[in-house]
Amino acid sequence: MTDISATAPLDPARLPFEPLMQRNAVISEAPWVRRTLIGVAILFLAGFLLLPLLSVFAAALGKGLGAYFASFNSADTQSAIRLTLIAAGIAVPANLVFGLCAAWAITKFEFRGKQFLITLIDLPFSVSPVVAGLIYILIFGAQGWAGPWFSAHDIKVVFAVPGIVLATIFVTFPFIARELIPLMQELGTDDEQAALSLGASGWQTFWHVTLPNVKWGLLYGVLLCNARAMGEFGAVSVVSGHIRGLTNTMPLHIEILYNDYQFVPAFAVASLLALLALVTLAAKSVLEWRFADQLAATRRH
């Protein structure tokens, strides 16, 4: 009885501010259990995520700032950075358009095979990136279905930039579509119908109503898509052919440098990718914090 009166709130208005654990003995654990669980979680994160990340920067800066910046002077490194930017620069806008189209088709229309299309969009998530790369070799490679036609017309797809872009698009395809589909499903079609009933054309409706409604979800998807596009290794590795200065993206270049025992340049480029990850994470957190209500909490990758 005394226990209850000690924990019972005197002022009901204060109730929401009290930590749930202290108020509700049923769901709380003994203090030592709580501390152990929290401690394990922190140690795990520190050991498996934070420490490697720090070691990347430590190794990159191990021989001083001069050596760090000097490693970006190599022509091969610069070409790898350029190629990564090109691949992401093509893959992200392409997936932006494809993702919007797919999300639009799935959420705004009823048609046969819709469920199949949703499954298909998820395919790149479930297929190993190496397989994704091999698919393009099978299609566009010298022995592939379309390979002879392309080589007859002097177009190089595999072991060239187009192949890298294609593989990147394949792997990053779901990010934007998956971001938009739940959001657009939740929004429904009332806004669009209202716009149409007010006399707007389909394009005006898309531009003035649909796009503003999904813009934060779209930006979020673009961020995730971009991070993956720049970091993709497996699929790109298969189609690239590893030609230095020509078909090496940053992740591939890092591996080559590392295998050549060039640790400082390898980790310097790696630190650039890690920085990108951190920037993406920060931007994602800001978006989530700022527009939590517009980003449905149903999808995490």
């Binding site: 009332d190 209202a194 716009a195 009933s197 007010l198 006399g199 707007a200 003035h208 503003p212 409604n213």
Partner: protein, 384 residues
């Protein structure tokens, strides 16, 4: 603009949502589409707007056939149940949307648009809120913005889907009155959908009662309330008592009673169900034809008294009487009184009619009273 609807059908997969709707809507009329969920009322409204393609049938706006017109071409003002305001636009931009998206030749200039928006804001009594965003408005204010946005395009007809569904009771009442006034002032042909009979009766000139994709009855509010054509309409516009009876020689007898309860109208002979609303019963003297009943329960709420009665045949009966003054006699449990339905409708007891009635109300049997058989149960049995 008067609207003519002829033989309209709509299917959703295997579901027949509209089964041959014929309806004439006069210009300037305020019409309610009333019915339970799944009755097709919203589908019909959306069909008029052009938001639902039709499998069969024609919809005419005045003399022009609108069936093949797109939603943009129909120029209807549609107000959605959840308002569908554009969240990223201010109130003024929302209202101006329909004017701004017009082709360059037809678009009024910016000054004219602004003037129109100001007029509409004044009309819906939202002056000064033009720079707010929808998230900063109350439900009732959002509703009025949606209305102003629909009116901006000077629609041929104003269509409202459950206009008060998302509002609380007080706002709903005020807004109803206000909408009635707005309709009087602007004179737009207005059709609204509701499942609330009170709303339909209070607001509309005429009511269309719908059930299972068909129109049960069309009439003025008085007609549908006082002369329901089908048991469904009677049931939907209140919770009636249903008493088993029989018609002999054109006169209506309650089961187990030798005195007819009506001598006026002439009915075809046969087994019937007698439908009477709780407030249509009168307590009468012993020498007047009526029903002897035992009071099972009395419950007074303010100026009304609700009596639960048991009649000779074992049925229970709910009646609702005015409580005029404090000195008036209050009936006690166990007392025997004689009641008479002052107004009632008689429907032949056949399978077809009954299947159109909505599902029976939850069982209201009174614990401890020994009465297990309620009106609702009786009705369910009578259908089989």
């Amino acid at each position: 603009m008067n609207i003519t609807i002829r033989d309209v059908h709509k299917h959703y997969g295997g579901f027949h949502a509209l089964r041959g709707i014929d309806l004439d809507i006069a210009s300037g009329e305020l019409l309610a589409l009333l019915g339970p969920s799944g009755s097709g009322k919203t589908t019909l409204l959306r069909a008029i707007a052009g938001l639902e393609p039709l499998a069969q049938g024609r919809i005419l706006f005045g003399d022009t056939d609108a069936t093949a017109l797109s939603v943009q071409q129909r120029k209807v003002g549609f107000v959605f149940q959840q308002y569908a305001l554009f969240k990223h636009m201010t109130v003024a931009d929302n209202i101006a949307f329909g004017l701004k998206v017009r082709a360059r030749k037809l678009r009024p200039n910016d000054a004219a648009i602004k003037q129109r928006v100001d007029e509409l804001l004044e009309l819906v009594q939202l002056d000064g809120l033009d720079r707010r965003y929808p998230a900063q408005l109350s439900g009732g204010q959002k509703q009025r913005v949606a209305l102003a946005r629909a009116l901006a395009i000077e629609p041929r007809v104003l269509l409202l889907d459950e206009p008060f569904g998302a509002l609380d009771a007080k706002v709903r009442k005020d807004l109803r009155r206000w909408l009635r006034k707005l309709h009087r002032e602007t004179g737009y042909t207005t059709i609204f959908v509701t499942h609330d009979q009170e709303e339909a009766l209070e607001l509309a000139d005429r009511v269309v009662v719908m059930n299972k994709g068909q129109i049960e009855q069309v009439g003025t509010t008085d007609e549908v309330y006082d002369f329901p054509k089908t048991p469904f309409v009677f049931d939907f516009l209140g919770t009636p008592n249903v008493l088993p009876g029989i018609v002999r020689d054109g006169r209506v007898y309650l089961d187990g009673s030798t005195q007819p309860i009506d001598s006026g109208a002439h009915y075809p002979s046969g087994l019937v169900d007698i439908y009477a609303r709780p407030n249509d019963f009168r307590v009468v003297d012993a020498n007047v034809p009526g029903l002897d009943a035992q009071v099972l329960e009395t419950q007074r709420t303010g100026q009304r008294i609700r009596l639960t009665l048991s009649i000779n045949s074992g049925e229970t009966l709910e009646i609702d009487l005015p409580h005029l003054d404090a000195e008036l006699k209050v009936w006690q449990t166990g007392e025997t009184i004689r009641v008479r339905p002052a107004n009632f409708s008689v429907f032949a007891r056949t399978g077809a009619k009954h299947s159109s009635a909505p599902d029976p109300l939850p069982d209201e049997s009174i614990p401890g009273s020994g009465i297990s058989h309620t009106v609702a149960e009786h009705r369910a049995r009578g259908r089989n």
